[in-house]
Symmetry: C4
Subunit: 276 residues, 4 copies
């Protein structure tokens, strides 16, 4: 396995060109957040905005409108009961992130299906959290157009890939990722990423991160990074590394690292680790 | 009486094992927060998350969903009018905290009864605030399955134990705690904890803490500590001590210490006081 | 006129006795905040909590419940459409603050009347903002039981006292305050306080404070101070001075001082200026 | 073209006179924020308050009431479905800002028409965001009474002026601005301002600002500056410069600058750059 180290950061995080505008940094649309799991989509949206995406829209349950804006007036909101309003936004997005706090009920499944139907070539589609469970439990297949990025933890990967956790070797994981024609970010103590017929192992990460919402934050970061940076697979690796490196930094002083703290640390971290 | 000192911290707060995940740190479910007392369950939930619980779910009045997520996107939410959705979460919890801001009306009583009916061996059940008043005023008996932890202030203890405040000697308190087969955390200037047939007296605490919400925060911390640490009675003592020690620190510069500040100080405090 | 200087702080802000509890520091109930002016009652409530009141309850329009708890989980909430739930709380309060953002419509008038009817000897009643306008425009008379503290700016004082701003001399102001048997805090560049047949002039204050919400914050501070400190008239003077002294401190670095920043500065300021 | 440099700051930002009150610093009314774009009006309102406007009222969709107060208890709120309540406030305003997050539907158009109908001589009317798109797409003409300030980005300016982005030379822009009898703030990498028959080019600005909400923040700052400072055209230039200068400062340490951070930096920035 290749190692993911801090070198990926300066490779990916370019200095911003002086003559640029928000359109230069992409549009991220995030779909998730039921009445029960609204915090998840807030955390993912925070990560997308604080990593520098140009424009972020969050499609969620109406009960999450206020708490989204309390954290993030920078994001736009669409009620997922008015999904027809979200459709043109998803179509125009550089990256779609679906899953954080989406839930697994009938409504969630419909949102997933409609999103899969919209996703198209040139777009990145990040599939996280309950969207992975839905994918595993349904007869849905991944859309063939976009660059699909799956971000399961080991149990979700078992559901999606059929490989039991004990059998999740790099080779076995890569075989399924290749078959799915997707990038697979398999989260654990040392996260592995299957892409371009390679398996990469992350070298950062701390048990202080072992708390709810970490995965939502990573999904949002992958959204923010792939929206901005031209080399999409490298951007996934950089997001994975940055997420754990920030946690490692915070864990020098904290017993537990809160997911929203990682997002709030992104602007300074990315400044310190951009290309010269 | 034994004294609770800073030694309990390094005894309880272990270094986190590298290869761990959020499941390692337990699931806390908190039940409380009426329309009038929503802040109480928010403060308790903050304490549970910031002390490092792996997963936290808050079961509360629907009007508290947004303010919970404004403080804490890391927590999940269940409307207590849909208690059937909370039941599997309570059943799967490592720790249930019931009481902060619960109120004492008929609905509150029903929530308490249904929670008591679910709590089972292997779980910790923290009973705080209005749940103690309900317990005292009703014919409810404590569930026999879980490790019950009662966190009354002196007047609530009078209601539960029948011992008048003036007569709350360590011996009298211990006798009732033993009879209830519960850990009793009797909050006052110098909080006393009855457990394992011993009475422990806390050595920390400041009058700067004398403000609404301190007890809710302690209940949430007991939830977070017992969810993570194997020795449950010791975890209760560590939470009691940490709560007062953080307040003592903040009171060096503050005339009054706000409860939410204690929670927000937990990650650094616990880092500084973990086992070597 | 006597001057209000920093001496009032150490005279009033006592060191907290070790063996005290939240009941020692009083109960403040605040009534205000219509759908349009919810921020005002939030700012007043913040000031009451951050100045150290033991227990704070906010009685406001239901649409302000969430934003109150977003700022202040430490406060309890009562919907002012269920004023019967507020009545026992107002009756048990050490201090009632009425007016911040109350509005001047029929509902506001009814809330004022019902509050006046409840206020009784031993209590402090702080009357601020739109409650002063209502008082001036209606045939209401101040309740005879409580210690009434009026906190008008100059135009509101004109409405209440009938004295035009140009004619608001210390003597004229004192005559009306005596006649009303109330403490009058007449806010301006140099706030004057009529009490105990004396006029006191504040020596602090900065034009950086000239922004909406400053008065609401002062009303809440008067609530918090009179709830805790035995000498109620001196507590009013101390609140007036502290409010301006904190603003003066912040204005050394800020062009404008936001009201909520004054409240958030209270714990450190009061710690630094308590009695030795 | 003239350059806008830091000299404009000390020219415009006066030391506040000691004997002043909130009325001295003007009233700003902001109209915007649909259910989808509530964050935009929050960011604009933040900028108006933090730049020192005396009184700020936000007229928006009812679903934005809570999130506005979560950020800004200092602002008052009017539901835009009760626009008759907003009308006296708009009439009494020193400055009206319309457009941030307003949307372009029929309701938005009606709000724009009613605001145009109210705006009158002596007032500043800042027209931003979707209000510019509505203006371009409708047969509305700018009101003749107020000082109109348009704040388009280049595409919005194309819609309003009919000049394609490639053809937006200073001369062409000025000709249309003169014809509209408006100040035009044309936002880009180097923002240009057409006023008093001159074109001014801003010398600050960073690609770290290229994120959603920057324009809303600038519109609110123009509102806050023109409300306080006597020379309205100079105040527009000072707001434009300050907005970019704060971003430049923050970008020394941040890869991306969040719009709300600019507003929160205003009190210290303006203190440091006021007239001696």
């Amino acid at each position: 396995m290749k190692k993911i180290t801090d070198k990926i950061l300066t490779k990916v995080i370019r200095q911003r060109p002086a003559d640029s505008f928000k359109g230069t940094y992409g549009k991220v649309a995030l779909v998730g957040g039921s009445q029960n799991f609204g915090g998840a989509i807030i955390m993912a949206s925070l990560a997308a905005v604080y990593s520098g995406a140009g424009l972020v829209t969050t499609v969620s349950d109406s009960t999450n409108q206020t708490s989204l804006h309390d954290w993030l007036p920078e994001a736009m909101f669409v009620d997922n009961n008015q999904f027809e309003m979200a459709e043109p936004i998803l179509s125009a997005a550089t990256v779609i992130v679906i899953g954080p706090g989406l839930g697994t009920d009938e409504k969630a499944r419909t949102l997933l299906e409609r999103t899969f139907a919209l996703a198209k070539p040139g777009q990145v589609l990040v599939i996280d959290g309950s969207a992975l469970t839905l994918l595993a439990n349904s007869k849905l297949t991944l859309p063939s157009g976009p660059l699909n990025v799956l971000t399961p933890h080991q149990m979700e990967w078992q559901r999606v890939s059929g490989i039991k956790i004990a059998d999740q070797t790099p080779e076995a994981n890569l075989a399924v990722a290749n078959q799915l024609n997707a990038i697979a970010v398999i989260k654990s103590h040392r996260t592995q990423v299957c892409l371009n017929n390679q398996v990469y192992e992350n070298t950062g990460g701390t048990p202080a991160q072992a708390t709810g919402g970490m995965g939502d934050t990573l999904a949002g970061m992958i959204g923010g990074f792939t929206a901005q940076f031209a080399d999409k697979p490298a951007a996934v690796l950089a997001a994975v590394y940055a997420h754990s490196a920030i946690a490692d930094q915070l864990a020098k002083k904290q017993y537990v690292v809160l997911p929203h703290q990682i997002s709030e640390s992104l602007p300074e971290f990315m400044h310190a680790h951009q290309a010269n």
